[in-house]
């Protein structure tokens, strides 16, 4: 509990900044929906002239942006991206910052185990994910109320935010595992961004070309594709299973590697 409380406090500021930014993104975008839907016809016409590949790349080929939920889903893919980056950074820095800031000697000298350290930090991040998604869901309901005449299904919104949470857990656990091998602070940013943006582009490529559609199995952005969620009203079980096992494997590997790792100061 001691380390958990300390972690919650020391990570509070950056968590609030990220959360406020992402929630504002949703809120501001939704506030533009009324004027956007008024001109929906013109926009539809314009988009008809877009090449098909480009529409696929932007993930708008099957979206009707005049519909509130479709419009929301379009914004939602950027929420996924930023939320992914946020928790990839959290995962990649939580354990490694103790070593890069050389505070690890203080922590290791305390009567606690390495498992306790990993668990406390993991729990902190999970609590952050919970708070983030409850806040996000709340503000999306509010924005639908204010700007889109309540044109949403609660179940779909809940599914969308559950998928954000799952995506964050995915990047968090991968970040934790990677962070064990990070030796310098300046490595955190490029590695974290590289993984998230890399998988994001893979998801785009896998939608454009059928030849590489197998790539959809290695990118979490495909697991939690907002468009499929609002069309089907569910998340594909295969993806849930893959995601679950990647998270499980990463977390297990984190515990094992961290226990066998020498302090590196």
């Amino acid at each position: 509990m001691i380390l958990f409380i300390r972690e919650i406090k020391s990570n509070m500021k950056s968590f609030i900044i990220w959360t406020v930014c992402i929630v504002s993104l949703i809120f501001l975008s939704m506030s533009m929906f009324p004027s956007f839907s008024a001109d929906a016809g013109a926009i539809e016409d314009m988009m008809k002239n877009f090449p098909e590949e480009m529409k696929k790349a932007l993930n708008i080929s099957s979206l009707n942006l005049g519909e509130a939920l479709d419009y929301f889903t379009y914004i939602f893919q950027y929420v996924l991206l930023f939320a992914g980056i946020q928790f990839m950074l959290v995962g990649a820095s939580m354990l490694s910052k103790e070593e890069t800031e050389k505070t690890i000697e203080f922590l290791y000298a305390k009567p606690i185990t390495k498992n306790y350290i990993v668990t406390s930090k993991l729990l902190t991040a999970i609590v952050q994910i919970l708070v983030f998604n409850v806040t996000g869901a709340l503000f999306s309901v509010i924005s639908f109320n204010l700007f889109a005449d309540n044109e949403y299904k609660l179940k779909t919104l809940v599914l969308l935010w559950l998928s954000v949470a799952a995506l964050q857990l995915f990047f968090l656990s991968v970040g934790f595992l990677i962070s064990i091998f990070i030796k310098k602070t300046r490595q955190v940013m490029p590695v974290a961004l590289g993984v998230v943006l890399g998988t994001y582009f893979i998801s785009i490529i896998s939608s454009i070309s059928d030849q590489v559609s197998f790539l959809k199995y290695i990118t979490p952005f495909k697991y939690f594709d907002g468009i499929r969620i609002i069309r089907d009203g569910s998340i594909d079980t295969v993806y849930i299973i893959i995601c679950f096992f990647i998270i499980l494997a990463s977390v297990t590997a984190t515990y094992v590697c961290y226990n066998n790792k020498d302090m590196n100061v």
Binding site: I2, K102, F106, Y108, P111, T113, D262, M263, V265
Partner: protein, 291 residues
């Protein structure tokens, strides 16, 4: 009872040598010095004892408990001061002490105040605004606040001014009298000389010797320095009895071990402007003996 015991403790960092076959016993109530040049393996040994790194082979025990398997249990009763002190930038000293104390589930407020006053430390100052010496004080207080049974200090005096060093040593002596065992690493022999009952000398990863400080001093070596009146003086008689004889122009220096009378008789035959006969420092004894 041995507080610390290592058996053939060996650590390689990949192919690089850390320490090789270290066998060490530190008894309860001792102040045990750990001496060696930089890179000899002092910190490696200490970090292995603290389970910061795991040994390549061999084993280590503290309070008769395995340092690897029961590390968190052992650490309840250990105070550790790292050679480089680094703490959380967002805390001030008082917050850090309270945070540290929580891990020991002990009420340490009075002790924190006492120690802070003793070292004249401003506890309201943030750690990232502190000087190196003040950070060291924070480290010392942090290591002592839960009244540990064993103190492990890795080069503890770096950064402290002489006044604070003296206070620190006085404090350690008092703690030791109250029953605390102390392991103290240093590359400065004078510190060890002042504080320790026994010293271990480590060089290039090997433990060279463990010796009582008194025994080392009892080796009746004298350091003799002579300023000759006449540079052409015949000093062969001195070269015969002296060890490590160094001659430069009219200055002669050597180490002498033997009867004082014989030394004086030989000196008597020589014309000299000045003469010094001193106890060598431990440093010089070590240099002479082992290194």
């Amino acid at each position: 009872m041995n507080i610390i015991e290592t058996k053939n403790l060996t650590k390689y960092y990949g192919k690089h040598r850390g320490i090789i076959d270290i066998n060490l016993q530190v008894e309860e109530g001792e102040i045990f010095g750990f001496i060696g040049p930089n890179g000899a393996g002092k910190s490696t040994t200490i970090r292995t004892l603290m389970n910061f790194i795991s040994p390549t082979s061999g084993s280590a025990y503290i309070f008769n408990k395995d340092c690897q398997k029961q590390s968190s249990y052992i650490k309840k009763s250990i105070g550790y001061l790292p050679s480089e002190v680094n703490y959380y930038d967002d805390l001030n000293a008082q917050q850090l002490f309270q945070y540290s104390a929580k891990y020991y589930h002990k009420e340490c407020t009075a002790r924190i105040r006492e120690l802070s006053e003793y070292f004249e430390l401003d506890v309201s100052k943030r750690l990232d605004e502190m000087s190196f010496g003040n950070k060291k004080k924070v480290g010392i207080i942090q290591a002592l606040l839960h009244k540990p049974k064993l103190l492990i200090l890795d080069e503890p005096t770096g950064g402290l001014d002489p006044l604070m060093q003296n206070r620190f040593f006085d404090l350690l002596e008092n703690e030791n009298k109250a029953g605390t065992t102390i392991l103290f690493s240093s590359h400065l022999l004078s510190e060890v000389q002042r504080m320790c009952n026994r010293v271990a000398i480590i060089k290039e990863g090997h433990l060279l010797k463990v010796e009582r400080v008194e025994t080392l001093r009892e080796e009746k070596y004298k350091k003799v320095k002579i300023l000759l009146s006449n540079p052409r003086e015949n000093i062969e008689s001195l070269s015969e009895i002296g060890e490590n004889v160094v001659i430069s122009k009219n200055k002669v220096e050597f180490m002498y071990k033997g009867k004082s009378k014989e030394l004086l008789q030989r000196l008597n035959a020589i014309e000299c402007d000045n003469i010094w006969i001193e106890d060598p420092s431990l440093e010089e004894i070590f240099m002479h003996y082992y290194l």
